[in-house]
Amino acid sequence: MSITIGIPRSLYYYKFYPLWNTFFEELGAKVVVSDHTSKYILDQGVKSCVDEACLPVKIFHGHVLNLKDRVDCLFIPRFTSISKNEYICPKFGGLPDVVRNTLSGLPAVIDTEVNLRKSGKNALLAAYDAGKHFCADKRHIRKAFDKAVMCYRQYKKQLMDGKLPGDIFDKKAPKSKAHGAKPLNIAVIGHEYNLYDRYVNMNLLQKLKSSVANIITVDMLSEELINEKTRQLPKRMFWNFGRRAVGAALHLLERKDIDGVIFIMSFGCGVDSFVCDLVERRIRRESMIPFLVLTIDEHSGEAGMDTRLEAFIDMIRWRCSCENNLPAYG
């Protein structure tokens, strides 16, 4: 009988699920993903974690609880780094330790370290380490990994083309309604797990789409575009998310077709506290693009967010119409 491995639908699920899924399935494991984030999952997570933990980490715990009794093992890698000379966040580096010391009655935890800070080749080492639980043949693991990487590349390409993970994984792309108004281009910046978890962001992307906006995410911009901008920073940004977010912002503010930028910030997130501030400073200093910060925590109410979002969109529309009505010599 094949081993079932549980993957929490949280944190880097949104970045790497196609890779992990293919990899483990190729090795003959049965992959089980936790349910979509819900109030129950969130509450369970909030209850088990220290108050000070950020919302995404709390939610992660909720997903682990959702899985723990129906799988043989859990995949909770130690993510130190996913890119050369860069880090993610101390909380990713300590994730398996935090989970193990917070929750009891867990099945086996596969806590392979992923550390690509020195070299991207270390990804294969991580694959061998995670794969050894399922298969003794290194060549076979290697093959599974290569295939997984292919799926991952394809996934990244789909994201770049503007597909959202929800549409890709759940295969039911909701159509946005045709509307009379001219669509706005709204860029949305935030951690994958805030941006793509519909429960967490209270359906933000869908709401934007139905107020006739084209959404631009950091995932839709190429690494070259981003790096070209971040190279101009006086000091290299050492968070993977931070580099991409700041680079994207610097790129966006030079584009003429961006009508607004929204930053989704996790309450209490250390990385966001700096990255959001840098992005905001640059955008305000060097452009006229409207900028909105939406902070989410376990208490944020949907009504409040909707109001702010509507006001933001209205303001942009109003601005657009004013600009259009200005006489050419004005």
Partner: protein, 371 residues
């Protein structure tokens, strides 16, 4: 060029020794105070960690007094400290405060850039003199830390409450007027003599508490509301393994010279936290284990609100607490922390430790007589 630097506990003593010996003009910002924090909070991002806000306050206060260049150390992640310099640069720029920021770290651009930064600081000084000054500054930092440790030993045992604090506080002010590493070291020796001559209760066996947590908030007395002194006056001896000199020697000098570092804390932390994740999380967990093994009565973890590595450590500490049966108290500091609530929590913790000790002694006597 008039240099200034951020405060963190007694760091200014080491910085002063270095800059005096090099003959560089500088200005020590006023000691951390409510005012400093208010200024910093006003201009820093709302969710930035507390040390950034206080540092910013330091710079702006020093700027008013005529400083124009900031000297700080840096890093390359994963915690926020490594990006402090850039944040400061951006904030100062937006508020129109023209200060240059020199970050002492190994830059991405390599050795050339590093030498350029050193040159900017030292002008044409010869390398021998620079090395000598660095060595003297490091030993000054060690002696300043020893002095603080001595004060922490004497305080809970003093007969006249407040004597230690009076002497130590006078020292902190006098240092500012001392001349170079030599002058500072003499002052340290004199102060140590004074501390040693304080009348103490030699038989008193104080409760012992280890202080762990984020480096800034554990070291800086303004930030931790003078925890060692509060504990001391409750008759509790506070110890802290993370020190300014330790940081300079282990993190900067040994790393640069590739000397083997003391990693006993990492071994102690290993079963609970298997990797270096940034900040001082590994030290926090490791030192808690070590304090427990050394028979300390309790451990207090201190960190600034939203500090990422310490939240990881905090999530793990309950396991250490349980495995070693040692009480751990976590204190989280931000600009809203009130003194009254803080004191109450410390006193409750002190009472708990006292009761545990009494119970322990009682338990033993019963066992002996019942034997």
């Amino acid at each position: 060029m008039k240099i200034t630097f951020p405060h963190m506990g007694n760091t200014y003593i080491c910085a002063k020794a270095l800059l005096d010996d090099l003959g560089i003009e500088y200005l020590i910002p006023p000691f951390n105070s409510k005012k400093t924090l208010e200024i910093g909070t006003k201009y820093a991002p709302e969710f930035a960690c507390l040390p950034l806000k206080i540092n910013l306050g330091n710079f702006l206060q020093a700027y008013e007094m005529g400083a124009d260049t900031i000297l700080i150390t840096g890093g390359c992640g994963p915690c926020r400290f490594g990006y402090y310099g850039e944040m400061h640069r951006e904030i100062l720029r937006d508020i129109g405060c023209e200060m240059d920021v020199i970050t002492l770290e190994w830059p991405d651009k390599g050795a050339g850039e590093f030498l350029h930064r050193i040159r900017k600081l030292t002008g044409k000084l010869n390398p021998y003199r620079i090395l000598k000054a660095v060595r003297e500054a490091a030993t000054t930092a060690m002696q300043a830390d020893d002095l603080e440790r001595l004060a922490n030993r004497v305080r809970p045992r003093e007969l006249q409450r407040g004597t230690t604090d009076r002497i130590y506080k006078a020292f902190l002010n006098l240092v500012k007027k001392a001349d170079g590493s030599a002058g500072i070291k003499k002052l340290i020796r004199d102060t140590a003599g004074e501390l040693l001559s304080i009348e103490t209760d030699m038989d008193f066996r104080p409760l012992r508490v280890g202080i762990v947590g984020e480096i800034y908030s554990t070291i800086d007395p303004y930030t931790n509301l003078n925890i060692s002194s509060r504990l001391g006056s409750m008759g509790i001896e506070a110890d802290r393994r993370v020190t300014v000199s330790g940081w300079i020697i282990e993190h900067m000098i040994k790393k640069a010279l590739r000397l083997p570092r003391d990693l006993s804390y990492a071994d102690a932390a290993k079963p609970y936290l298997g990797a270096m994740i940034g900040g001082h999380a590994q030290e926090t967990v490791g030192h808690t284990v070590m304090y427990a093994r050394d028979g300390y009565d309790g451990v207090i973890q201190i960190y600034p609100l939203t500090c990422m590595p310490e939240i990881v450590a905090q999530s793990i500490l309950p396991s250490v607490e349980k495995d070693f049966d040692i009480p751990v108290l976590t204190l989280i500091m931000d600009e809203m922390t009130g003194e009254a609530g803080y004191q109450t929590r410390l006193e409750a913790f002190g009472d708990l430790l006292k009761k545990r000790r009494e119970r322990g002694v009682y338990g033993k006597t019963v066992a002996l007589s019942g034997g």
